[in-house]
Symmetry: C2
Subunit: 454 residues, 2 copies
């Protein structure tokens, strides 16, 4: 245990640019207007999203400069540490070298501020007075609440109803930062009212919450709509993670054979993997990039590549990506951040082109991995992060079987201090381990719009 376990960078090593992997992918598939089916105009996107963010969304420039005031705020918790998981390696009796990059040291305990801070900054810059967004388990919502407070903006968050009720402390965190948090579906929007009319006890979904937030943004030009994952600019903001990790692996005099991240909307995975993917594309590095998604919401492993909406009320533009259909409702697994029917089009394209792999892991297996990780490394992973831990442990056990010493790098997206009810249920044997039925999947897939070009 006397060997080095932590690789620390200086403030000067915080990246000065975000990496835009769209530059490496050739001509992107156009985004389609939900009303016309034709490619969407820049002006239409700017109706809800701040113009500098739309510019990034549509850009194929290789990188974007990080504004000074954003980088100044990053300095509060960045660079984040990268660790060698020596005790976990010993517990697994594996010859693998396991590393993890830990984003739980941010003030809200997850990677989300990496994108919330610049989104608040750009909205402030163009004169918006507030932000509106949706959140599932609340990691994104609390990050937007905090970033809005820093820039003197209001924040309104539509939180998936079932999480709103199950996780009152996430809501309390948003409120401590001064945000208004509404349970979705809410009576505040036409989209919410339509759902409530059919089912007053509807548990909500991320798709419905997106529809509500977008509706508010369309109705209030002073408010900027923000998104916590999936979109190209969000993936770009998160690449500070992978860029730092590359420097830290150099300090460790090592290079990952395998990089694994949890995959819901895809921004954690993109943030960690895209810098390595560029290395792979430009320098021919031999590296496996693995998306760990829940069996309960198997977007990459059982979805289709097609044009689809990101929201239930079909207000969002149509993007070409892996999708389970915008009407797909996954079983209520506790990794709320991974319960998305759709995924980042950039991740989707990387998988389609054979540049990334995907594995689906079960909820029980993830919590089992989370408990082992907590006991050996001291950090209780968020359920989302536990998906990556599980996939990494499986690779490490394969190394043991095959007598190979590979370097495995985990994107540990956050701590699980808000998710202990789920750990408690798991340890008490009360956590379900559901997967969607063939009927549920078929119902979801049948909601994918029928477009010739998809």
């Amino acid at each position: 245990m006397n060997e080095r376990v932590k690789y620390t960078l200086n403030e000067d090593d915080i990246p000065y640019t975000w990496l835009n992997i769209a530059a490496d992918f050739g001509e992107p598939a156009p985004i389609l207007d939900p009303a016309t089916g034709a490619p969407i105009t820049r002006a239409e996107l700017c109706r809800t999203i701040a113009e500098p963010l739309v510019d990034q969304e549509l850009s194929t420039e290789p990188e974007f400069e990080i504004p000074g005031p954003v980088r100044d705020i990053y300095r509060q918790w960045r660079p984040t540490p990268l660790y060698r998981a020596r005790r976990l390696e010993i517990a697994l009796d594996t010859p693998a070298r396991i590393y993890y990059k830990y984003e739980g040291v941010s003030p809200v305990g997850s990677l989300k501020p990496n994108s919330a801070v610049p989104q608040a900054y750009y909205n402030k810059q163009i004169g918006k007075t507030g932000l509106v967004t949706e959140t599932g388990a609340g990691q994104w919502g609390s990050s937007i609440a905090s970033a809005a407070a820093m820039f003197g903006l209001t924040a309104q968050v539509f939180m998936v109803g079932v999480s709103y009720r199950q996780k009152p402390y996430r809501r309390a965190l948003m409120e401590a930062y001064g945000a208004v948090c509404n349970s979705s579906p809410s009576p505040l929007t036409a989209a919410g009212r339509a759902v409530l009319a059919e089912d007053p006890d509807h548990p909500g979904s991320l798709g419905i919450a997106k529809s509500e937030a977008l509706e508010v943004a369309y109705a209030n030009p002073d408010l900027g709509y923000t998104r916590g994952s999936s979109l190209n600019h969000v993936c770009a903001h998160q690449t500070v993670i992978g860029q730092e990790a590359m420097l830290q692996m150099e300090l460790a005099e090592d290079y990952p054979d395998i990089v694994v991240g949890p995959c819901g909307g895809g921004s954690t995975l993109a943030g960690m993997c895209f810098p390595f993917l560029r290395d792979k594309l430009r320098r021919g590095r031999d590296i496996r990039l693995i998306a760990a998604e829940p069996v309960a919401c198997p977007t990459l492993t059982r979805g289709r590549i097609a044009y689809d909406h990101s929201d239930a009320a079909r207000l969002t533009p149509l993007s070409r990506m892996h999708t389970l259909g915008h009407k797909f409702v996954p079983p209520p697994v506790h990794a709320g951040g991974l319960r998305a029917h759709d995924i980042s089009p950039l991740i989707s394209r990387a998988v389609e082109n054979g540049l990334m792999e995907a594995v689906a892991v079960r909820q029980h297996a993830c919590f089992e991995a989370g408990v082992l990780f907590a006991r050996e490394e001291g950090i209780v992973p968020a359920p989302e992060s536990a998906h990556a831990v599980r996939a990494a442990i499986d690779e490490a056990l394969r190394c043991r079987e095959q007598g190979q010493s590979k370097a495995i790098l985990i994107a540990l997206s956050g701590h699980g201090h808000f998710d202990l009810a789920a750990y408690e249920k798991f340890q008490a044997g009360l956590l379900p381990d559901d997967e969607p039925s063939d009927e549920d999947l078929e119902l979801g897939l049948s909601s994918i719009p029928d477009l010739a070009r998809a």
Copy 2:
């Protein structure tokens, strides 16, 4: 905002020794045996506490070497960051320079592992197979649970009943680490059974939980009893905080005029202040050291200096210190870590000798400060830490009134992610702001043993 806000150290800057302020205080008052009233023997202390820790407890050496394996584990989260609170300064419109040292980046989110790790290490070293301890709000219990797991020890935690029920997630955290957590008073001990016989619904107290843990330790020589605050060795372990902070203030080319810490048992305060206190004593530095305690539990501001027990069942030795009496029961404020009737004898002595000051702050004022701090600095402070934030803000406002630019350093002991129910109540106007009645105080003070030597 382009000025530096974070002062980062390297791993080499993690201290190699713990500082023992007892060396600077001259002959210590003896600890008395609860059975005989005579000075306690080393052998008696060793019946429950690991011998190397007893050696530290009784030592007047100026420092103790930090064992290599302990320092290796410290490296996971140490050195912790020290920040300049620029946004808070601007919000307060104060000429004061406010700094905070943030211990919330540890895996459990507080400073407690600084002592839990060495206590687990020494117990393992002398052949104990497990640890037993008490915990109030659960910060110490979860730190012991994690440290025990790292060293392959069992952990049994007696958690104050009211917190056990109010904070199920702290308990779930301990269980995730593999510890057994019992609600106190419990039917597992004579001390617990005696309390339950009088009142089956007794909410418990830290004093009762201590009695239960000690009883288990006396009955099981294989188990080591550990304490999360107050004792000299615990204060020493926490001095890694102040030692690092001194280096970081040098990086900031500044030196604090005022250092403020929350004060319950006293280990946060001691950990931050004792290195500065030594500087004050040995180099004549002009510095004010302030203990911020709750009005609800005013040990330093309204207690007496006397010999008293630390526990309700009077199993602990008698120490000379400020005390409200071992039968004092404070109102149920949410800073569970500050609800101790007694205090570190070393802190007590520093206050008695005029080397430290104490202020008592109200619960509402603390949460108000916590909310302001969260919005400006992004970090939601634990309620304990919010006491120090409150006292620091009051000093900063005084600087504004007086047109003075003082440097104020806050010991921010942990994040409030487990305490959001309290923030929620505060924001909803439902948090009480109780102080003890004169009768409650008199009842407590009258339980102080009548010893001629006190």
